[in-house]
Structures are given as structure tokens and as C-alpha cells.
Amino acid sequence: MHSSADGPSGVTVTVIVSDASSLALSLTADVLVIGGGMAGAWAAVSAARAGARVILADKGYCGTSGVTAAAGPGHWWVPPHAREQAVAQRVAAGLGLGEAAWMHAIIEETWRSLPTLAGRYAFGIDDEGRTNYRAVRGPEYMRALRAFARDHGVTILDHSPVLELLARSDGSIGGARGLRRQDGDRVYQIAAGATVLAAGGTSFLSHLLGSRTNTGDGYLMAAEAGADLSGMEFTAAYTIAPAHSTMTRSMAYSFATYYDSDGRELDLPFGPQQTMGLAKALQAGPVFCSLHRLPDDIKARLHTISPNVPLVFDRWGIDPFGDRFEVTLHNDGTIRGLGGVRVDDVDGRTAVPGLFVAGDNASREKVAGAISGGGNVNSAWALTSGIRAGQAAAQLARAVGGSAATLTPLGQAGLRPKVRTRALDIDAIRAGVRDEMHPFEKVLFRKESTLAASQRALDGLWREIADHAAGDLLRSRETAALVASARWSVATARQRTESRGLHHRIDHPQLDPQLAVRLLSSGFDRIVVTAEGQRASAASRALEAAS
């Protein structure tokens, strides 16, 4: 492992020290959970319930970090009699990429399991006196899940980002290794019978609320272990916020009225086309908003529905119901997009033995289809995949037993430079990722020429980071994950030469029935995109993205 020291002009350089001497902490567990948002926390609880000794490691603090904590995830909550219809509608809306059986599974698991949190979460009581389970508030939900995990004996390591997975000699995953940020960045290693990756999606460092620690680390780590990504082209999701703020909570905007800088009202009706319209308006100039049409009873209760939403207005001295304030759109990346690790079952199992993937770390195409799962499906998926992955991991850990296998670290880019260590401008590389993954003209209104240019730019960033980076381990590793995730996204978007759901190509505005398939991506220096179900050889060459 490496340790870092400050070099000239504040750039970090790497000092290689021997593995043994830098290992501050060596732990064992039956199940290791990486990431402590809702998916990871549910996974930890369910693995512990199944009798496993569980360690959960989060980059930040399990309870506040991740997109679950800062927002308020509404779960897909459908009573049994209404499920056939709800699933049928979603399958149709999903344009060929959804799977009815997976949707039924997450509705059922959510229905059964969410109420089990009642001892730790005070579910809301509506005006008719009924308990409402589906709508939970993020900070309270994650505080409850943390307490629930502790009730079940889970060991939680906060401020302990995982940097890489560890493999046994047969290629199965046997744990992970990371840093203790509040303990002098000391290295820790966990040997585990089975590992659940639940490190979230990525907004590619947009100002999407709560997304800063989600840099795609889980995608990179799974890929290094041999897993495929799926649906990485579906990153063209954006959410409105007051300009210069992170408050991407859209409820109040369902009644918004928009204006251009001359005060002319814009024709942007509430509905699925609104994001596109807003993006076009923002390309033309600043856009202003007023929430005067919000019903009075909701205005009066906004602070008890979403207490963080008024913080922004109050502190800026804006009356959102009278004044016009400037708005922007923040990119959701894969978070309210769809891409992630391809999993073979609702329990998050992957092609890699010993590795399960849950929540936004996994592709959500099978449960959401080609459209965003952001309104309800995502949470039901995070809960279900977490719970099922925890159970499956506990079961596998029992079978594997506590054998003292030799573990090989799998991390490459950002940790172990291929060529030689060189001081890199990590901030510039991060800015480079933003430049390709946020602008509307490159993401929301895609076409071959801009995608090809993005790919070239990102390939250049990848070579720098893969060949030379190793300084500040966490930052260079995060940056490697961001660049890798962006490259899979752009490569896949080039191959989907049609418009489907969240993916729009202005040079291919129609659905292509031939492309009603999920697209898999893999590879590092050379990225390969294949249609799911096809394997290597001729088929994959047809879709290969030269890199």
C-alpha cells in the first residue's frame, strides 16, 4: 500500500511503504457491507438477522452520507390488489428494459420490510389518522437505520472509505481494504466471507443534494473484480434547484411558474417533458421561478413536509411564493439515472463469486425500465436488493467458513500507476469529468460528434490517472472511479443509436426496435459494449467502442 506526503506546491506525491507496516487495523467478518446509505444499512441489518457477524464501512458517516440521508425517498408502495396494474404500467413505461418479476419482488419486499423499522422510525400519520409507510424523511430514516443496524450488532466504521476489493486465489471476493480518515488515514483491511457493495451511484460531482461522496467507487471496484456494468448510457437525468444551491428537491416545483430574464412567462407545463424544456430555456439564458401557485395549505406546511427546502429561501431573504428566483438543473448521473453493476438476481448477485451489489451501485433497468426510478422504484430497489443481498451474503459466508485465504488487492487506477507516479492536477481531471458529464448539449441532447469528442477527452484523462496517479489515495481513487464511470457512460451512449427513455440522441430521435436490449459495458483501457445476451466474438465486435 502507499502512503502520501505533501510534495512541492501542494501536489501530493507517493511514498511506497511496505504493506505490513502500514496495516493499522486488520478485521474479520462474515459479511462486509461497503456503503451505508439505505441499501447498505438494510443489507447489514438483514445479514446480521441471518446470523452473520457484519461490518459496515462508509466513506462518510452512516446516517448522514449518501443521497438517501439528505432527501426523502418515497418508496414504491402498492397494496396487493393493485400490483398487477402498477407493474403492467411500469413495464410499458420502461420501453422494453424492465422485468415484471423483478418489479413484483421489490414491491412485495418493501411492503413486508419497511414497517419493521417502526421501533426506530416514527412513520407519519396522515390527516385521516392512517399510518403512511411509503414516504420517509431522509435524515430520520438513515438515523433509524443506523440505530437498527446497531440493534442487530453490526459494527459500523465511519469515515472509512473502501479503496479496493480483495480477491482469494480462485478469484472470489474475500474482503476489502480502505482508509480510516479520522485515524490518520491509516489503512485497514477486512477479510470477509462475502461482500455487499452498496456505495451508491454517481452524479459526476454535480451539486445534487447529498451526492458528494458518491463518486462511482463501487462501479470501479466491481469492474476490477470482473463484473459488467449495465445501462450506463442512462445518465441524462437532471433535477431543479435554486441557482447556487444544492436543494434538488422538486416537490414544490410541481406548481412552479417560469420566466426568462425579460420577465416573460415560459411555457413549461408540469410533466415528463419539463426537464427538456427547462434545459433548453437555460441554454438560452437565465431562468427564474415563482412558487406562487403552490396551494396555500401546502405553503403553510412546507417546513414540516421538507424542512430543508425553506432553509435556502429564508437565508437568502427570498419569498419563494412572491419573489422570482433564479433556478438551475443539477445532473443526477446514475442516481436518478439508471446505470450500475449488472446483477443477475434481485439479491444482487453478480458474475463474481462472493460479490453482491445493492442500491444505486447496481443497474436499475430491470426494476425501472428505461425511465428514471427516482420517484419510488429506486428506494424499493435499494431496500429490497439490500435485504436480499444481506441474506444471500450471510448464507454464502456460512458456506465459505472462516478459511484464512491469501488475499490479493485488486485496485489499479488511482492506486497503482501503470507507468510511474507523477504529480497530477487532480482538480483539473475532476473538472474535465464535469465538463463531459454535465452540459446539456453533451448529455441531454446527445449526438455522435459530441459523444466522440467526450470519449477522446475522457480517454486522455483516463491515461493520466491510470498511468500516473497515486498521490492522495482517496482523491486519486475517487477521480479514477469518476473517469471510468464517465467513459462507460459515453461509450455506451455512442452505441445506443436511438432515443429511449432517459437517453436522447438528436441524431437518432426515434426508438429502434432492434435496441430494445440492455447494453453492457466493461473494460478499462479499452471499453467494450455488448448487448445483453450476446457474447463476445462477432456480436461484441459489432458494438465495440474503440478507445
Partner: protein
């Protein structure tokens, strides 16, 4: 971004150091914690929510620093606002969690606009 920890309110309990998801705040050898890595702040306001002393001020601005003095922060009357409206700690029972109303708002907006289409954008 987080702009202030008010020394004369801070009880040095360490909660903000523990809960900040991006590890912005560092324990000091003596005195209130330090804003050690403000550039990493993700403007989620959660340090404020966990600060029982209402000693933290997070400016809503996520992409620019804001100059504010402790006196101005106190005078704004906004310290502790998030914790209060969330009904945490001593505010329990006074501000009910009405998150459940959110779906009603989307439904009403959908009905007011075009009924069938609003359903897939029901994000929070």
C-alpha cells in the same frame, strides 16, 4: 457551504466532526472544532441538524463562499431552524413530520396539469 461554528455556543461535543459526511470539520486541540476542509462541504445542512447547541451556520451557497459574522448569523434568527422544524430533541412533538403529504402535492399538480403524465417524475 458551512461558514461558521459559533465559539460561544459550541459545547465541543464533537457531533459535527462525527456526522459530517465529507469530513470537513476537525477536532481542535482545544476549543471548538475547526473548519478544516470547507471546499469539501456538500451543503447538506446535516451538521446543523445534529448540533444541539445551534452553533453552526451553513450558507445555502454551494459554489461560492459567503462572508458572514457570528453576530449576523445570530441576528438572522436562522440558527437551529432545521433542527426545530424537523422536530428533533426538545422540539419533539411540536413540528410533526409531514413528509407523507409530498405525494399528495405531486398528485394535485398532476391533476392541475395533465393528469396521466405526471406520474413518472414524482421525485422529491
Amino acid at each position: 457551504m458551512i461558514e461558521l461554528i459559533l465559539a460561544d455556543r459550541c459545547t465541543e461535543c464533537g457531533a459535527c466532526v462525527e456526522v459530517c459526511p465529507t469530513n470537513v470539520i476537525a477536532r481542535a486541540v482545544a476549543g471548538p472544532p475547526l473548519l478544516a476542509r470547507v471546499e469539501d462541504c456538500q451543503t447538506c445542512f446535516l451538521c446543523e441538524l445534529y448540533c444541539r447547541a445551534d452553533a453552526i451556520y451553513v450558507a445555502p451557497d454551494c459554489d461560492r463562499r459567503v462572508a458572514i459574522t457570528p453576530e449576523q448569523a445570530v441576528a438572522s434568527g436562522r440558527l437551529g431552524q432545521y433542527r426545530k422544524h424537523s422536530g428533533w430533541d426538545e422540539w419533539a412533538g411540536q413540528y410533526p413530520n409531514e413528509q407523507w403529504l409530498m405525494e399528495t402535492v405531486f398528485r394535485r399538480a398532476g391533476e392541475a396539469a395533465r393528469p396521466a403524465e405526471a406520474d413518472d417524475k414524482r421525485t422529491t
